[in-house]
Symmetry: C2
Subunit: 294 residues, 2 copies
């Protein structure tokens, strides 16, 4: 029996252990980063906001002129099977469509048959619960929307990875990169929020419209906080009462240091805590959670 315990993947209409999950070197998904994807998380055996992730995934494929031979229901079934085969109760589940390979002798993307991949792997926190992130504002610019549409989830991450190295050099743990105006954009896999005088600000444009970002905005509105989606200057972030990151990889996470200085009191702030509690509570709301049958 193959061992799926470290994760499982769906490739070429078959389920394989994650260690065997491979893609052709010649697939444009690799050679041209010509792909779109989405990642949904599973906590306690339930998908969280699967429908929103599927919406974004299908709209990303449309924008890149890609298609897959699965209906939305069939796709949900494949993702669910990846998790149940692995037995993982807490997991990331990634769905990917790549351009595929062009016909021999061609360089025309219209000759490619798009390919679909999915996998489930154990959940990894960007930062473990209770530990605040130590953030650096990198001078590196996020790839602008005029080049690559950031609302189509994509693998163009070299700016973010190089920002991360910059953070390590400066003694930080992770980075946010900036937009062309020098204001904060996003980090590797997370959006950012600043809280000042009970008003929340999060970068409004040129960033991935994260599902966790959306959830945080919805919760904040529900709790009566004003949320501004607009420019967030590094200065404003440094002077914030609270800062937090949002990501499928960990939910709502406090940022307790920025550019080697303490944020607010230096520990998990009360509004961040409130949003975090509500965020995890939503994981048992049947409106957002979908049970997996193992």
């Amino acid at each position: 029996m193959p061992d799926f315990s470290k994760g499982s993947a769906f490739i070429d209409a078959e389920y394989v252990p994650i260690s065997e999950a491979k893609i052709s070197l010649l697939d444009w998904g690799f050679l041209h980063s010509d792909a779109t994807y989405d990642v949904v998380h599973v906590r306690g055996g339930k998908f969280f906001r699967l429908d929103d992730h599927l919406d974004r995934f299908f709209s990303g494929m449309k924008a890149l002129r890609m298609s897959i031979p699965y209906t939305r229901e069939e796709l949900s079934g494949i993702l669910s099977d990846c998790v149940s085969k692995s037995g993982l109760q807490d997991a990331y589940v990634e769905m990917i469509t790549t351009r595929g390979l062009p016909e021999p002798g061609s360089r025309d993307p219209r000759t490619c048959r798009n390919r679909f991949f999915a996998f489930a792997v154990p959940f990894v926190w960007i930062t473990p619960p209770g530990k605040g992130l130590d953030l650096i504002v990198s001078q590196r610019q996020r790839i602008p929307p005029e080049s690559v549409n950031p609302t189509v989830k994509n693998y163009h991450w070299l700016d973010l990875v190089m920002g991360q190295f910059e953070a390590y050099d400066q003694g930080g743990e992770t980075a946010v990169v900036v937009n062309a105006k020098g204001n904060i954009a996003e980090g590797p896999g997370f959006n950012i929020f600043a809280v000042k005088n009970r008003v929340l600000t999060t970068p409004g444009e040129g960033v991935l419209e994260g599902i966790t970002r959306k959830t945080a905005i919805d919760i904040a509105n529900e709790l009566g906080y004003e949320v501004i989606q607009g420019e967030l200057t590094p200065e404003a972030a440094r002077l914030a009462d609270e800062l937090f990151a949002t990501s499928t990889a960990g939910g709502i996470m406090a940022i307790t240091r920025i550019d080697c200085q303490t944020v607010g009191t230096g520990s998990l702030g009360p509004i961040t805590q409130e949003l975090q509690d509500r965020y995890w509570a939503l994981h048992s709301d049947p409106h957002y959670a979908r049970e997996i049958h193992y």
Copy 2:
């Protein structure tokens, strides 16, 4: 015996037929397009300017803080073996270093062991000799140097691929994308030159410093033509006497239509022809060509 005739690859220190050349779905080279590469071509059983490609490849790895366990000479040997195993006399040979996979549970690129891949596949022309390219100037912006260093050869190509789709929509065959000023940058895998009154202009910044571009500049200088590396407006390109593309994938290739209008006389121009002839002649110059032992 495995069949290497359609191409061969070097993966995990073994040679495999190209159809078996695969990379883990979890490698950051795929999931974050966190990789650098180079492509050298082989014509008539000889590498062309292999040393220049190796220089660029090693300098790209350094910029991305990657390394491989092979010396320059060992790497040349691997590339040569990929070609000789395939038996191909005309080939592309690609060398790739990816970030690799982080340690289980980590998202820290410093925990990754970088991975090296190489492959040889049959030579494919961007446009066959004698046929001029039909080019569209896309409004899509090339990813700027402030985000991703274009002199480090990388797989961030979604801007170029979407530009290509734009070209098809407008009845063209390929596209160039522009820089933030709206001036021409580069196309998918090629640089561009305009000739006006015997002066050559090629975009100077924010583009890959192509080896074929460099060769074309060297040849032009040697032949006594002035070459300007600076801004090339779409207007100037449309009014050029001659336009040509340079790429490892085909050398120096005439562009005979731009934005659905004829360039100059609409056929291969005399200066393009002169450069092209000299370019292919250099392929038997021992200073540039290195023989492969099959």
